[in-house]
Amino acid sequence: MATIIKTISFNNFFNYYGEYDDTQYDFEEGTNIIVADNGGGKSKFFNAFLWLFYDEVLDSETKRRYGIKDFGLKIISDKAKKETPIGDTVSCGIRLEYETPRKRFRIIKSIKAKKLDESITDNNAWSLTIDEAEVDVTDLVLPKYKAVYDPDKKREIINDLIQPSLRQYSFFQGEEVDRIIDFSKKNSIKEAINTLTGMSDFDELVKTTHYINEKAIDTRDKHIKESENASIQTQKDLEEKKALRIEIEKLEKEYENVRIQFENAEKEIARIEQNYTNAQKRQKLDNKIKEERNKLKTARDNYHDYLDKINGKFFDGNFAWLALGFDKEKNDFRDRITQYKETRYETLTLRGIEENPNDHFTILPFDSPDSVTLDKMIDDKHCYVCNRSAPEGSDAHKYLLKLKNRNNTSKAKPKFRNDLVQFFDNLQLNASPFFKRTDQVKDSVMSTIQIEKDLKGRVIKLEKNVKSLVGSRQDIIITGNDDESKDSDIIKDYGVAIKQKQQSEDRYNRIKGELNNKLKTLEDLNSKISKEAPLSNSDKFESFARLTRDIEEATRRTRDRVFDQMLKRLESYANIHFKDLIKYNEQSGGILKFTKSPTGTIDFNYIDSNGNLVSGASTGFQRMKIFSVVMAIISANTSNYNYPLLADAPLSEFGTGFIKSFFEEAGKIFPQSIILVKELYDKDNAKTLLSKEGEALLKESAISTFYVNTQEDVEQIELVTSKKRLK
C-alpha cells in the first residue's frame, strides 16, 4: 500500500513567498523532478520535510539542524517580513497532501510571527508562536476533508508517509547521500541485515541457549563433584575448570573492551578520512576558485577598459567615428581645394600678364636679331638693326640688354600677399584618415559591439563558474569547526589514529587468540570431565548438558546461516542494481563484495574481474555503489517498498553517464521519487531554462512531472522562488 505525495506547497517559507495555492507543486507516481540552481529553493524544499518529520530545519551555513522554535524567524520569507506592518502578524508554513489507495491526507505545519519592530533579523523584534500541526483526512470516493484532533493519530499519519525506521533509505539530502549507509561505520550493513532478518531475535535465542547450556553444565559438574565416586583427577579437573571460567570471564570483558576500542579507532579513522578527503577537495576547489577569480578580475578589467575606450573612437584616426555622415563635406573639401588651386593659378597668370605683358611672351618680334648678334651688338655698343651707336648706359644699350635677358625676368612670378597653399594642402593630408573612413564607421561600430559582447560574455561565464565552484565548496562538509581544523592538524590526527588502530587491532587479535585457546581448553576439559564422570549418577545430567550444548550450537549456526544468506542476497541484489546503474557509463565496473571483518562488521569492497580491490574510482561511481546497496536493502525486503524517495541528487558528482540510469533505477524501487537537482539548470536557455541533459530527461516517458524553479535578479530581501512546470 504505497504512499504517494500529491502536493507540496509553502506559505512564506524561506524564498517561497506567497500563499499555499501560489506555490503549490503537484506530483504523480513515478519520477518527479525539480530543477533549481543554487539558492533556488532546493535545500529549502528539503527543509519542509525536516519540519514535517522532525520539527527541525537545516541551516545551510553551519550545516546543522535546529529546532523550529530556535530558528523560527529565519524560516519566514524576508519579503513577507519586510511587507508586514508593525503590529501585524505574518504566517509561515508548509502544506503537504499524500494518498494511500483509499485515503488522502493533508498536513499543515505553521508558525505565526507578530512584528514588534522594524528589524527582520532581530528575534526581539518579533513574537513567534508555533501552531499545532493541522491534519485532515478524506476518503477518495467522496473527497471532503475532516480534521483529525487526536495528537497520537496525527503523529501516526505523519509517520505513515515514510516510516521512521525506513527514512534513512527514503530521505536524503546533499552530502547526506553518502551517509544513508555510512560505510565508515562498518556496522551499517550489519545493522541493515539485522533489521531485515530480525537478527536480534536470533541473538536472544543464542544467548538463551548458551545460558541454559552453561547452567546444564554447572548442574552436571555439581553432581559430579558431590558424587562419592568422583575421582581425584575429576575433582582436580573441576577445580581447574572453575578457575578457567573465571579467567575466561575476565578475558571476555577485556575482549569486549578492546573490541570497542578497535571499532572506535576504525570510526575515528573514517571520520578523519572523510574530513581529510574533504579538506583535500576543498583545497583543490580553493585553488580553482582563486584561479577563476583571478581570471574573472582580468576579464572584468578588460571589459571595463574596453568600455572606457569606446567613445575615444570618435576622435581616433584609426576608427574615425566622427566621420560618419560627412561624405558630402569630404567631397566638398576635395572640390574646393582643386577649385582654389585652379583659381590661384589663373590669378597668378593674369597678374603676370598685367605686370609684364612682354615678359609673358617668350617669342622675339619679327626681324629681331638672334642672340649671337645681340651679344655682338652689346659688346660693340652698336645697334646693327637701326644702324646707330648704343653707348653703355644709353637707352639703346639698355634696350639691347633687356632683349637679351627677356626669358630670365619672365620666370620671376608676382607673389600673393599670403601664401596659404600649404595650409590647405596640410589640412587635406592630415584629415585623410577621417575622410577615407566616412563609409567604414558603421562596420567599425558593429565590430566594437561584437567585441564588447564577447568580453561581457566571458565575464558572465566566469562569474557563473565562480558561483558554481563556491556553491560546490560550501557543500563539502568538514565536521566540527572547520575554521580551526587545518589540513596539517587533520593529517597529524590521521597518523595518530592509524597508529592507535594498529595497536588496538594487535591487542584485539592477541586477546581473541587467548580467549579462543581458553575456550578450547574449557571445551576439552568439559569432554574430559564428561568421560571421567561415574555414569550411574551423572548420566541424565551429562545427557542434558550435551543436549543443551547441541541446541546452542544449532541455534548459533542457524543464526549465522540466516545472516550469511541475507548477506549473499544483499550482495546479489546490490550487484543487479549496480550493473543497471552503470549500464550507460562507458567505464566498465567491477563487482560489489560484502565480507565479514574480524570484528564481525561487514566490509564492503569493490572488486574487478581479476579479483583485485578497486579504489580511487570516480565520485560518481562511489555514489552509485552506495545507491546500489540502498536499493538492495529495499529490494531484499520481501514486501514491496511503499514509500517515496526524496533526494537531493548531486548529478555533477554522478556524471552524465549515470544520470539516466539513476532515474530509471529509482523508478523501479520507489513507487514515487521527488528529486531535486541543480545541474540541469541553464539560465541562457530562455525557453525551458534547462541544459541539454535536462531537455533529454524531459522527453523521457518515465518522468511524471518536471518543474524548474526560477528566481529574478533582485536584491536578497526581494528574492522569491517561482516555478515553471514543464511537464
Binding site: 571595463h304 572606457d308 555622415g325 601664401d419 597653399v421 561600430v445
Partner: protein
C-alpha cells in the same frame, strides 16, 4: 602671412562655451578618476567637438551669451595632438565658406587684420554650432531610449547625421 603663421594663429585660439552646460560637461566628461558605469567622454574638447558636429548636422547655430556667462578651455592646438581630429574639424569648417563669408582665394590677398577676422569667424562658427549641439545633447541625453547604453553617443550621433530626429 604664410601657411605656418596662419595655422599657428588659428591653433592658439581658445574656443568658448556657455557655462550653463558645465553640469552636463561634468557628467559626460570623465577626467579619468573612476571607471564609469557606461562610457563617457574624456577631456572637455572631446565633448565640445562632438557637440559641434551634431550642432552642425542639425543646423543649430546659436550665438553664445555675453562673455561673463561663458568660459574657455584648452587652445585648439593642444587638442589630442596625436590625432588628426583638429585638421578634420577645420576641413569641415572651411567647406562652409559661404556661411563664413570669405572664400579661400580672397584670403590670399587679405591684410593681416582681415585674415585675423577670418580666424575669428572660424572660431565663432565653431563656438555657435557647438552651442547648438550642447543644447541638443542636453535635450536628448536624459531620454529613456538612450538610458544606460554604452553606445548612447553613437546612437545620438547616428540619428542626427542621418536626419532621424523629429
Amino acid at each position: 602671412m604664410d601657411s605656418n603663421q596662419f595655422r599657428e594663429k588659428l591653433l592658439i585660439k581658445r574656443p568658448r562655451y556657455n557655462k550653463r552646460y558645465d553640469l552636463l560637461i561634468k557628467k559626460l566628461a570623465n577626467k579619468g578618476t573612476t571607471k564609469s558605469e557606461y562610457s563617457q567622454f574624456g577631456p572637455i574638447y572631446e565633448i565640445f567637438i562632438y557637440c559641434f558636429m551634431i550642432g552642425l548636422k542639425s543646423q543649430r547655430r546659436i550665438p553664445l551669451p555675453e562673455r561673463k556667462l561663458t568660459a574657455d578651455f584648452l587652445e585648439i592646438g593642444k587638442w589630442k595632438r596625436e590625432s588628426p581630429i583638429v585638421d578634420f574639424l577645420l576641413s569641415i569648417v572651411l567647406t562652409k565658406s559661404e556661411e563664413l563669408s570669405f572664400d579661400w582665394n580672397s584670403m590670399e590677398d587679405m591684410e593681416d587684420n582681415d585674415l585675423s577676422q577670418c580666424i575669428d569667424k572660424i572660431i565663432s562658427f565653431i563656438e555657435e554650432y557647438a552651442n547648438g549641439g550642447f543644447q541638443l545633447l542636453e535635450e536628448l541625453y536624459e531620454k529613456p531610449e538612450y538610458a544606460e547604453s554604452h553606445y548612447i553617443f553613437m546612437d545620438i550621433y547616428r540619428k542626427v547625421v542621418e536626419g532621424e530626429l523629429e
